[in-house]
Subunit: 396 residues, 2 copies
């Protein structure tokens, strides 16, 4: 019998999707599921994107340039310049979602056994990408008591050794909702620069900011041009998750040239999706404003509802659309499963993500869940009520 | 200064696309380029696919299931049963092109330093996928004198050691056009089974057969169910290269479950592309017949034109749409570049792929090119004429 790879065996299951079979079973039984488990916005994609697809004039669905069309990358440069990020089309590689952007990045900077430092909890799939590239994730634990702000620079520096290649940050942060301040970003980038490391910043939630903090991008400061790698995507911003269009942006030309080699190997990003993403960049500027307003309202509703619950702690989402909630249970995964298999109100239940999968350290976050507030206010209210009553039944 | 990975530095440039900058320069000078370098068919995609895209009824471009929709995988099962391949939707993972299918496969069966045996010349990007996964490619050289048929089983067996995880075959073969016989496939699969290896067969050109040989799929023989991994794609069959829809098919459930983990990590294949690919499966059965007829005619033209050239040798393409041509030059890459930079007839020239990049062994194939006969007969005739006259000028 031929054997499976160690890395394949070791890749952790996605906490976001591992309970999908239980949700499917519930749906078969006629129970509606409110999905707070996955960052799939319910907001409409820009009409410009959908119309462009409906009006395509082509006979052959051809390969796209491996790095994405010049037009698209040029359009991205205009978008970035509105965010005080000044880059050129050649600084950009279009990828199949931010997922592929992270894979190319790890492969371009790490060999097997190399290490990357990431504050945890972090986007769970970073674990999978690291495993695929045989890269070791070194976690630095951030705490719910501190609203998951950046752990001390010293705690990062203590972990740096000659296998360390990068520090990875997600800002605004999935899964905590924390937005790193300019001071925090500069402090961690200074540390990366001091030790000749890359500083990789996943900014797919750049616009999703709900407090008066201003988002500071790693590429706003020219001092970090050699070290900085920006990971980005149209998925959340324009509700185009299924398009699978992401991008890598860096002023480090050696790095970009290496990413291009990996991009050439897999030939092309998806052509139709690129049309949709390109038109999203051209869409009405009120589109994003309305999206952020909507999420801002949902956040208020979420916080108001959560504040009524007893015995829980939660991170205050300053950005993105996630919050980590600490529950009065030993095993939040069992609770999440219970909601799908044994609990409903008016034939409706909730799917959440157990948070332990967002930690790399063992035995942390077992009592936490991540929720994505990607549903409208009415559904959010019902969802939190279901969690609240479900908790009471689960505990009793 | 942060450093690039060894694997990133070592990844070989794509022979198919590395000369693109020279082609772009030629185009800027007003020279039309006949592209024989890349397997981008000029055949129209099925109207059913394009119409389905134009008629989409959706407001949100949502994530697709990580393994692809049940409907699509079920449709694939029907397609396969028409080819004597009997599989279930759960035996299939939808991927972003055959490219991602190969990446998932290597990651699921190999750890860094593991080896895969591949007869060369082989599809050049196998090198890139292997490099990305730190897998060592062990080539077995097939010869133009034998029309690139399967080298002896003994030559494969001699290379098997405890790091060997798989034998990879492309059938029909890109870049040689060779179609392995049932006997050859069974012999190599028997060897894989004997040594507990996977036998990975890339069958993206399954229907592209021009002689009376019948294509024999690795999954037609149940004895190989534990060992067999089928790589496939809608790209060439339905002229949907830009869709980026491929798939992995295997009856080995451990393997498929492992691939699914990698698929979950990157979330989803592209949604719009899956709609196009699904409708292609439902398209008029004459579509493929007409496509194969057209390529069959092109092949005849190609062989007829090549037979007029002096001092060359070429592989007789029994399938796919490629041929390797051995030229009377020392450095076929220089010749390919010369065609783009210094030669044209009536403001037209040709882009071909230097074949050395399709070999893993050093210093083989330096005098060979690969051509893709993806243009109509008139263009093919002009292209071969340009190659012929270009050769005379290059040599003189």
């Amino acid at each position: 019998m031929p054997t499976i790879s160690k890395k394949g065996n070791n890749i952790p299951p996605s906490p976001i999707r591992k309970l999908v079979p239980f949700a499917d079973q519930a749906k078969k039984k006629g129970v509606d599921i409110l999905h707070l488990n996955i960052g799939q916005p319910d907001i409409k994609s820009p009409t410009e994107s959908i119309d462009a697809i409906k009006n395509i004039e082509l006979d052959i669905l051809k390969y796209e340039y491996s790095q994405g069309s010049y037009e698209f990358r040029n359009n991205l440069c205009k978008y970035y310049s509105n965010h005080n990020i000044h880059v050129l089309p050649d600084d950009i590689i279009t990828t199949v979602g931010a997922s592929e952007a992270l894979s190319f990045t790890l492969n371009s900077i790490c060999d097997p056994g190399d290490e990357v430092i990431i504050p945890e909890p972090f986007y769970a799939n970073y674990n999978g990408f690291a495993q695929a590239s045989d890269v070791k994730v070194i976690p630095i634990t951030s705490k719910i008591e501190d609203n998951f702000s950046l752990p001390s620079i010293e705690s990062f520096e203590n972990k740096i050794n000659n296998r360390t290649k990068a520090i990875i940050i997600c800002n605004p942060c999935n899964p905590t909702g924390y937005v790193y301040s300019k001071d925090e970003i500069i402090a961690i980038a200074d540390l990366a620069k001091k030790h000749d490391l890359f500083i990789v910043v996943d900014e797919v939630y750049r616009e999703f900011i709900y407090t008066d903090i201003k988002h500071f991008s790693i590429l706003e400061d020219q001092r970090f041009y050699e070290n900085a790698i920006l990971i980005d995507s149209t998925s959340k911003r324009y509700s185009l998750c299924g398009a699978r269009i992401g991008f890598i942006v860096s002023k480090n030309s050696d790095f970009i040239e290496t990413c291009l080699k990996f991009a050439l190997t897999r030939l092309s990003p998806p052509t139709l999706a690129l049309i949709a993403a390109n038109e999203a960049l051209n869409s009405d500027e009120n589109y994003i404003k309305n999206v952020i307003n909507e999420y801002s309202n949902r956040r208020k509703v979420l916080i108001s509802e959560l504040s009524n619950l007893n015995d829980i702690q939660y991170s205050n989402p300053m950005g993105a659309f996630y919050s980590i909630i600490k529950l009065p249970v030993n095993n939040a995964e069992e609770f999440a499963k219970f909601l799908l298999t044994d609990f409903s109100i008016n034939n409706e239940s909730v799917m959440v993500s157990p948070a332990s999968g967002f930690y790399s350290s063992k035995n942390i976050g077992n009592d936490e869940i991540r929720i994505a507030f990607v549903l409208n206010s009415e559904k959010l209210k019902r969802a939190i009520k279901i969690i609240n009553l479900g908790l009471k039944e689960f505990i009793s």
